[in-house]
């Protein structure tokens, strides 16, 4: 499964999109992200990231969600 196309949400370029493959975090984080529609197999597009380690904004379905950088590093996306 490990191909070079997988990167963290934090490292994605603005405008790139891909499928979430894994959330590397405890049940709490998985639950919170799930509630906002971010879960494995979901297609996400990166809308923006803020400089100086600021939050990342992504588009999931028809909503936007802002995710702190620490969390964004735990979300693994397969680019496509």
């Amino acid at each position: 499964m490990s191909d070079g196309n997988q990167i963290t949400l934090a490292r994605m370029q603005t405008g790139q999109s891909g499928k979430v493959v894994q959330i590397q975090g405890g049940g709490g984080l998985v639950n919170r992200l799930n509630a906002l529609g971010i879960r494995p197999s979901k297609r996400v597009t990166k809308v923006s990231s803020m400089f100086m380690r600021g939050p990342v904004t992504i588009q999931v379905d028809r909503t936007q969600v802002a995710v702190g950088l620490g969390m964004a590093k735990k979300i693994i996306v397969e680019l496509a």
Binding site: T14, G28, N31, R32, L33, N34, A35, L36, G37, R39, V47, S48, S49, M50, F51, M52, R53, G54, P55, T57, V60, D61, R62, T63, Q64, V65, A66, V67, G68, L69, G70, M71
Partner: protein
């Protein structure tokens, strides 16, 4: 019977709530928590039933305090109206499925239905009804469309036989439902969506934020000043002043009742700012100096809230706020504080940790002047030149930053990361904007005006009995030595504990230099919260935190005032 309105945040639940219920609503705290909910009543046939606007929740497996409360409230209801965002069916259905698994009848309101057409989304309603096994009513809460049908169908709420599933099974079920009922046609970005994206990008977002905040500031000043010059000043000068002068004559122009009611008449005219009587300054300050800015500020803030701009500002400000030990969402209590510190302290509830609430509330109390105080700063300090107003604001801003950085280092614990949904931009309906503006203005009138009148009365009485002289002599070394203010300014500082706008007004007749006025305004803004803020702070964060915070306030005020006195 008790009806629960449940749904994700930002689905228009509260608008449906206000459509269903009458004017009599009660906002209360859920016992033992800081989570509040709204309760109202509606006529259902002959019966009057209770309706509860349950805090927005994404799931019945709670991820925060508000969701825990939502889950607990579920056990107290008889029927659930599940409000679903029709433009974001997939995510919303997760909660719907969880609700259907529970032992309570459900009817679904498919809200924001009008938007599905613009967004190229087609939903097969009959198929959705069949698959969920409950009634589904399309609604547009903003216009009221579908609300009547919703009410007619409440009694048809059903309890379908839905198996209890695991999380993954639920998502799989939702996937298959979406495949069968929803069809999305591709469509290009609208200009509004381009604007949404631009608002959260660093460069364009920064420009938009500056533009929005600058326009907000100018609109507040324009509306506020227009109200003062064209409405309130004419009213007071042409209608009220003659009445007071006649009353003054009647009372003999001097004496105890005269001084309390009308204050000092100078040169046969009523000086509304300086006379300091109950019927002169006591009415003029709240109505003609402060109220216009309160109205203007809450109008603009309400628009920003309802358009959906504030979460975007939170994203942009997150980096900065983290340096101050907060996360981006703390910008909301901070902005509210520019109106009144009381709702600002209440709004720190949206922050999850005690640490964040303490830092946010302390920073607001110290460095965020409320609209009433700002109105007086513009009115009095502004007379001496715009640069002095800039110095006051600049100083408070620097204090906000430095104090935040210090508190972030000193207060134990850490601040959690930002994770928020950013709702789409919407044009707010005027009805709700005006309703909110009225509720907030009314709140100011009933809470602030009596305190202002009481403050003016108490000051006059204390003054007559010479109490202030005693306090002034006692604190003179600090006030004159450190801050370079005349002894009489102590009176104003003491009054600042009651009302800061009134207190600043008391500096007016003292013939201060511009520098002294700047020092006085800054110290007054910082050294202690007004009585209303104090009470709320105490209630929300406890005695210990209040004492800590008060220590920070007094030391920061003295240090800042001392420095200003030296360098200006």
């Amino acid at each position: 019977m008790k009806i629960l309105l449940m749904g994700n945040p930002n689905v228009g639940k509260s608008v449906i709530f206000s459509r269903l219920t009458g004017v009599k609503v009660i906002i209360s705290n859920y016992p033992g928590t800081t989570v509040s909910y709204t309760q109202g009543f509606m006529k259902l046939g002959e019966e009057t039933v209770e309706v509860i606007d349950v805090p927005g929740t994404y799931t019945l497996e709670p991820t925060c305090k508000a969701e825990e409360v939502a889950l607990q409230m579920l056990h107290t209801g008889d029927i659930v109206i599940n409000v679903v965002n029709a433009t974001n069916l997939e995510r919303n259905l997760y909660l719907t499925l969880q609700l259907l698994e529970r032992d309570i009848p459900v009817v679904v309101a498919l809200n924001i239905w009008d938007d599905t057409k613009h967004r190229g989304i087609h939903v097969d309603l009959d198929k959705l009804r069949e698959l969920l096994g409950v009634e589904v009513i399309p609604t547009v809460a903003l216009t009221g469309q579908g609300i009547k049908e919703l009410v007619e169908n409440i009694h048809k709420a059903t309890l379908p036989d839905t198996p209890v599933r695991s999380r993954d099974e639920r998502w799989a079920t939702i996937g298959s439902i979406i495949d069968q009922v929803q069809h999305v046609t591709h469509r290009h970005h609208t200009w509004l969506e381009y604007l949404e994206d631009a608002s959260v990008k660093p460069l364009t977002g920064g420009i938009i934020a500056l533009t929005v905040l600058a326009s907000a500031f100018f609109i507040v000043r324009f509306v506020g000043e227009s109200l003062i010059s064209y409405v309130f000043n004419p009213l007071f000068n042409h209608l009220w002043a003659p009445v007071l002068l006649r009353l003054s004559d009647f009372l003999g122009g001097t004496g105890f009742p005269h001084d309390i009611l009308i204050g000092k008449i100078t040169g046969g005219e009523v000086n509304f700012v300086e006379s300091f009587g109950l019927l002169s300054s006591g009415l003029y300050v709240p109505f003609a100096m402060v109220l216009p800015y309160i109205v203007a500020f809450y109008l603009v803030l309400g628009l920003l809230e309802d358009v959906g701009y504030l979460p975007r500002l939170a994203v942009l400000m997150d980096t900065v706020m983290h340096r101050l030990g907060l996360h981006g969402y703390a910008i909301i209590p901070t902005l509210l504080g520019l109106g009144c510190n009381v709702p600002a302290i209440l709004a720190t509830r949206i922050l999850e940790s005690k640490r964040e609430r303490f830092i946010a509330a302390t920073l607001v109390s110290i460095a965020v002047p409320c609209a009433a105080l700002q109105a007086m700063i513009f009115g009095l300090v502004g007379q001496r030149g715009g640069q002095y107003v800039v110095i006051v604001y600049g100083t408070l801003f620097v204090v906000w930053i430095i104090l935040g950085i210090i508190l972030n280092r000193v207060v134990k614990g850490f601040s959690p990361e930002l994770l928020i949904e950013i709702p789409p931009y919407r044009l707010p309906p005027w009805r709700t904007v005006v309703k909110k503006l009225w509720m907030r203005t009314y709140g100011f009138l009933v809470e602030a005006v009596p305190i202002i009148l009481a403050a003016v009365l108490v000051i006059n009485i204390l003054y007559i009995f010479g109490i202030f002289n005693a306090i002034a002599n006692f604190t003179a070394p600090v006030v004159t030595g450190l801050l370079g203010l005349p002894k009489e300014a102590v009176t104003a500082l003491v009054v600042g504990v009651l009302r800061k706008d009134v207190a600043l007004g008391m500096l007016a007749p003292l013939a201060l230099t511009a520098k002294q006025l700047v020092v006085g305004s800054v110290v007054l803004a910082m050294f202690f919260p007004c009585i209303a803020t104090f009470v709320v702070f105490l209630r929300e964060l406890g005695v210990v935190n209040m004492l800590k915070s008060a220590g920070v306030m007094i030391s920061a005020a003295l240090i800042t005032g001392g420095i200003l006195n030296l360098i200006l």
